[in-house]
Subunit: 398 residues, 2 copies
Amino acid sequence: MKRHFLWTFLSIFLIGIQANAQESLFGAQQITSPEIHDNSTVTFRFAAPNAKSVQITGDFLPAEKMDTPMGQMDGPGKADLVKDDKGIWSFTSTPLSPELYSYSFIVDGLKVTDPNNPFLIRDVASVTNVFLVGEGQAALYRVKDVPHGTVARRWYDSPGLGMDRRLTIYTPPGYEKSNEQFPVLYLLHGAGGDEEAWIALGRTAQIMDNLIAQGKAKPMIVVMPNGNVIQDAAPGEGNEGMYKPQFMVPKTMDGTYEANFMDIVKFVESNYQVKADKAHRAIAGLSMGGYHTMHISRYYPNMFDYIGLFSAAIMPREDATGKVYNDIDGTLKTQMDNGYKLYWIGIGKTDFLYDANKEYRAKLDSMGMPYKYVESEGGHIWRNWRVYLTQFVPQLFN
Amino acid sequence: MKRHFLWTFLSIFLIGIQANAQESLFGAQQITSPEIHDNSTVTFRFAAPNAKSVQITGDFLPAEKMDTPMGQMDGPGKADLVKDDKGIWSFTSTPLSPELYSYSFIVDGLKVTDPNNPFLIRDVASVTNVFLVGEGQAALYRVKDVPHGTVARRWYDSPGLGMDRRLTIYTPPGYEKSNEQFPVLYLLHGAGGDEEAWIALGRTAQIMDNLIAQGKAKPMIVVMPNGNVIQDAAPGEGNEGMYKPQFMVPKTMDGTYEANFMDIVKFVESNYQVKADKAHRAIAGLSMGGYHTMHISRYYPNMFDYIGLFSAAIMPREDATGKVYNDIDGTLKTQMDNGYKLYWIGIGKTDFLYDANKEYRAKLDSMGMPYKYVESEGGHIWRNWRVYLTQFVPQLFN
């Protein structure tokens, strides 16, 4: 082995030459974006000497009104980047409050991701860049120097749906070496999501690690199943291979999922160290997952002591099972009579499901069915669902 | 709950309006790309009515020569897309042999990802789109209807490095319910990679599931640690938060990793059902991971019966430990004298490390140290490392 090879190696790699089709070693652009400054402003940069205009669109910019069939609504804001003499476009934000934000660039009218930011999250069929600013609420979304739970992707047999299916499961720090039995939170995604949604967009592992380390949450198992009954797993992770995900997967809101939910509970309770009783089961979900949560918790009206509806898609649906949706009021009353510790409802003031939730609360009020209600700013967005999770989890299993 | 809400919901979501900042629900473009045809040609599409030129660059196109300090080398090929009257650009490939391929678009000189393909893989700091074509070798990379192992991200304490670190671990189908003890393959990534590399780019879980189901591999545990000693976890998954990964992380090739590798082995052997002996330990790695594999397996010269060097970065380095690299020939001889079942070396004919590997094989030849050698087409690319894994694993633990 000659010294020669060391220098060959270093010269190839440190100079940053694209060799042998392995261009991805080197990154497309040697600039920094986003750059998060100490004062919580953020500079975004994009190298495009020949572009005529570069804009940024993201959820941290002042919302812009957009026309929809429901009237004007808030859309993501936009801002212009300015080009310097080297062809690098840049934009610096105002100081941002602690959060996880997402953005894309618009180059001569074309929406593109930031080639200098390798952090992207897929939401249904779209991929956007993300970044974290500050501490505060965002501290819960960061990986801190605290004990970490384990996140596993595991397959289970669903006899009811006739297939093996994949779920994501968080077990708390120390679980593997513990003889203890733990409570379980079932955490359901929205339409178009899958078993990757809560762990990626929801930052569930980081939130759980941090809340447990702070003594604000009990050590618990969090089960994140796939709520699309015709899918065995997330796009790319299942038998269907790589395909473009769709928003409304058929049969996801026709009762089939709720009717077979006990396949998941049975799997968890026979494969993990859990306290298998009502006092140690919680269920929560966002949007379609909130709908599933509402129906599952009343269809099995003595299974869950903790129920969380996050921007729940409360709405009537066709019932393919002929049994799940056919006595909603009766089963809700049974659920109420059986008792529970917490029925938590959270929604944003500008959520398009706000009225549906208001109507649902009126129904609960008229029945005398107790619940806890939190109204936040903003709409039907992940920012709210992460916040709701951090508010819901500390109330569990106390 | 009025019927009204159902229709509101459907109208918003099915029409595909961007509402409430949740634009990511809907995807940027309602076209299909890539479209993989029955004859294994692939059509790529990109909507850009105002662009002057759209090209595609990818590893499935005929390689193009590029100048580097080492002379001309093969770079990824390029092809032009053609615009139709709706402003949709398209290109259809020749029939492609079964593989996982990657690509990007170049729009008016700017490299961008495909907004219609949500499947992206990060390699160091760059993100490119990927797709799978055909069966054959690619069948091993697909999720098939076979029993699936579990993939966990788990943290362990490394006393030698003074921190908690994260690893990815594959346990074979049925592991959790089994009382059996399993052999272990330690599978190491290259420079710039991390504990996500083999599971994402390497398709390790799919390869293992499929080889085990076909009876071509023994059920085994595969441990994919992080080889960058100053990192606790992959970018975005560790204490440093989200940052742009770099190719050469400091201290990754100075002996420190090798000197502390037993922290990982001890963790695995005290936390999993494993056969903790030489006959049931294998170690393999790509590029820098091949270098680590070479050094670890001779520095602990009686630990591993199976050794795999995939495009190994065989080269001298400074030794920060003062002990790991100071008697390479002596420890190699001890390793040889102690005996092993398989010392496997694979490299591509156009790999820039080809000569270094040739020189290393000459050394082994001169010592009389036996090895098995496979020379493939192509260079220093993931396609080869996936193939090497499928060739190496069937030879283990027989």
